[in-house]
């Protein structure tokens, strides 16, 4: 049987299997169709109906279930997640699993289109080591991403000493909804 305990392992393995069958477009199609529209349709229902309250409800439940080390901040205009210990990236790292070239892209692969459908845009950075932050705003809100500590105070993941890992890469999304709409920069 295929289980949920090691789900992140066979999920990541599946990205590469699909890439080998149909290239990167098939992987994007998988994130959008299978994950956004099918598996995570409860997220779309909550966020579409309740906006930021729905985000609190969805990520409050799912990140606790997954055992994440995270902090959420919400105002009337923005929902922010500071992810200190990504449960799925952590699982992959601890178990030495890496088939697909950039596992972290999958989050933007389904969350980006979901938020676009409901009128939200994403500012997001991930360091490929299990740390990231997200700020979600309505698409007609031109506010730029917060400065470090401004929204989430001491919980801001950018305060961490390991936020910029040596010899690493940071993926940066600005007002984006597409997993490929990113810039990648070296961390040193």
């Amino acid at each position: 049987m295929l289980g949920c305990y090691d789900f992140c392992g066979h999920y990541e393995w599946t990205f590469e299997w699909l890439r080998q069958q149909g290239g990167e477009p098939l992987v994007r199609e998988y994130w959008d169709e299978a994950i956004r529209c099918d598996s995570q349709r409860h997220a779309a229902a909550l966020i579409g109906a309740k906006g930021i309250e729905g985000m609190k409800e969805y990520w409050g439940h799912t990140l606790v279930d997954e055992g994440a080390g995270y902090y959420c901040t919400a105002t009337d205009a923005v929902f922010r997640i500071d992810m200190h210990e990504c449960p799925s990236k952590g699982f992959l790292t601890r178990n030495g699993l890496r088939q697909y070239h950039d596992y972290c892209d999958h989050c933007m692969g389904w969350i980006g289109p979901l938020l676009k459908e409901h009128g939200w845009v994403v500012d997001h950075e991930h360091n490929h080591c299990g740390q990231c932050w997200w700020e979600l705003r309505r698409s007609d809100d031109a506010t730029t991403p917060s400065k470090t500590g401004k929204l989430s105070g001491e919980h801001d993941v950018r305060h961490r000493a390991d936020w910029l890992p040596p010899h690493g890469t940071m993926d940066v999304y600005e007002r984006a909804n597409d997993p490929d709409d990113k810039t990648t920069r070296k961390t040193d």
Partner: protein, 169 residues
């Protein structure tokens, strides 16, 4: 068994998995089925069993039937809502799934279940067992089943896929 005493090859810091991931497993099967047909889905399952689960298969090859029994006991202990008994004798290991955690959670979530969902246990299990010169037979499905692992040289009749029930919500 590993030096850590854990029969699972991939381990997490939490004791059980997040049940909502069963939604993604079901959705993944549907996506592969829609794109590649039933033969493509069976190939996906076989590849998973042979490649992703290769470390498990290696332990089964080294440890034989006792390693298989240890694996399934540890596996189902980490699946939320599972009610499973694993028994072993000199010739076989029987996994008696009284409550399949995946089917139970998909029903609770009112998800449309891919009808051939339960076949994955056969195709993945068979690919995992093959390097150890073992084979599996699955009977039942749609919420409860019996999976029997035994030696290939016992020459059991081939798996009859009609013995694996279609799944439904």
């Amino acid at each position: 068994m590993t030096p850590s005493g854990n029969p699972l090859s991939y381990t997490d810091t939490k004791p059980v998995g997040a049940a909502d991931f069963y939604f993604a497993i079901n959705a993944t099967f549907r996506f592969v089925l829609n794109n590649f047909g039933i033969e493509g889905l069976r190939r996906y399952w076989t590849d998973l069993g042979a490649r992703y689960f290769a470390p498990v298969a290696a332990r089964w090859s080294a440890g034989g039937l006792p390693a298989i029994a240890d694996y399934w006991r540890a596996f189902f202990a980490a699946e939320p809502g599972a009610e499973v008994e694993v028994s072993a004798d000199i010739a076989s290991v029987t996994v008696n799934v009284r409550v399949c955690p995946a089917i139970a959670h998909l029903r609770k979530g009112k998800r449309e279940i891919v009808p051939c969902f339960c076949q994955h246990c056969y195709f993945i299990g068979e690919a995992m067992a093959a390097p150890a010169r073992l084979t599996v037979r699955v009977e039942g499905g749609n919420g409860s089943c019996r999976q029997t692992f035994l030696r290939r040289d016992a020459a059991p009749a081939p798996q009859d896929l009609a013995c694996i029930k279609e799944a439904s919500c």
